[in-house]
Subunit: 139 residues, 2 copies
């Protein structure tokens, strides 16, 4: 049996985060020692690994809850899991698109200023004051 610290080292999820996951119903309350300390088995370690991986991929805890629900009912259609993955993918793609617009804009702004002048004539500050000067359509 693993203590919460063992589990943390194994999965790379911090101890308070594990407790938080239990509290928010993502992990079930687990076995305890006589002294009230949590003990985990292999199944729990795997489940936390799943959660960790899904979090790394940007899934919200709500989405992960839905995925776990599906995992627990292997007879159900996996269409939902598929949809969740595709939604997540679409969101990531969109975020990349918007960040790239920002990147271009920030590049333009940062390159217009060498940091030598005074704030009064600073191109960075002027650019921030004037959205109209933007070349790309950011948000």
């Amino acid at each position: 049996m693993l203590s919460i610290g063992d589990l943390s080292r194994r999965t790379g999820v911090k101890v308070p985060t594990i407790r938080y996951y239990e509290q928010s119903g993502l992990l079930e309350a687990t076995a305890r020692t006589d002294g009230n300390q949590r003990r985990y088995g292999e199944a729990e370690a795997e489940k936390l690994g799943f959660i960790r991986h899904a979090r790394d991929l940007g899934f919200s805890l709500d989405a992960i809850r839905a995925l776990i629900e599906l995992q627990d009912h292997p007879d159900r259609s996996c269409a939902e899991a598929n949809a969740l993955a595709r939604d997540q993918l679409a969101e990531v793609t969109e975020r990349i698109r918007r960040l790239q617009a920002l990147e271009r804009e920030l590049q333009r702004i940062a390159e217009g200023c060498d940091g030598d002048g005074t704030a009064g004539s600073c191109y960075v500050l002027r650019s921030l004051a004037d959205h109209g000067a933007c070349e790309t359509e950011h948000s």
Copy 2:
């Protein structure tokens, strides 16, 4: 003079957000009517536009506070504004890089499953359980 609603329509910043900015010291407390309602002039509208634009570009409120400080002291060196812009750019670039790794991974996962099977044999769920299967180094 503009009411808070007018200002909101003009800048695209929501009314509660404007009040929140005032409360957190980003905007100074402004003139009020006898009935205690906020009234704004051109200068405030411009400042809020600046904040809005910087937020759109991903600057934190703390960074924006620093930028406003600089704006208010036009005689200071603009090196700091330049550094803030470059920091922000570096962060955006890094976020894009990480999101692109996620995108590739999610693409792989989503494409492995057509949503036709059952959860028990779902490629999405299996992929999420097994980080080892990942092809790119995400997070």
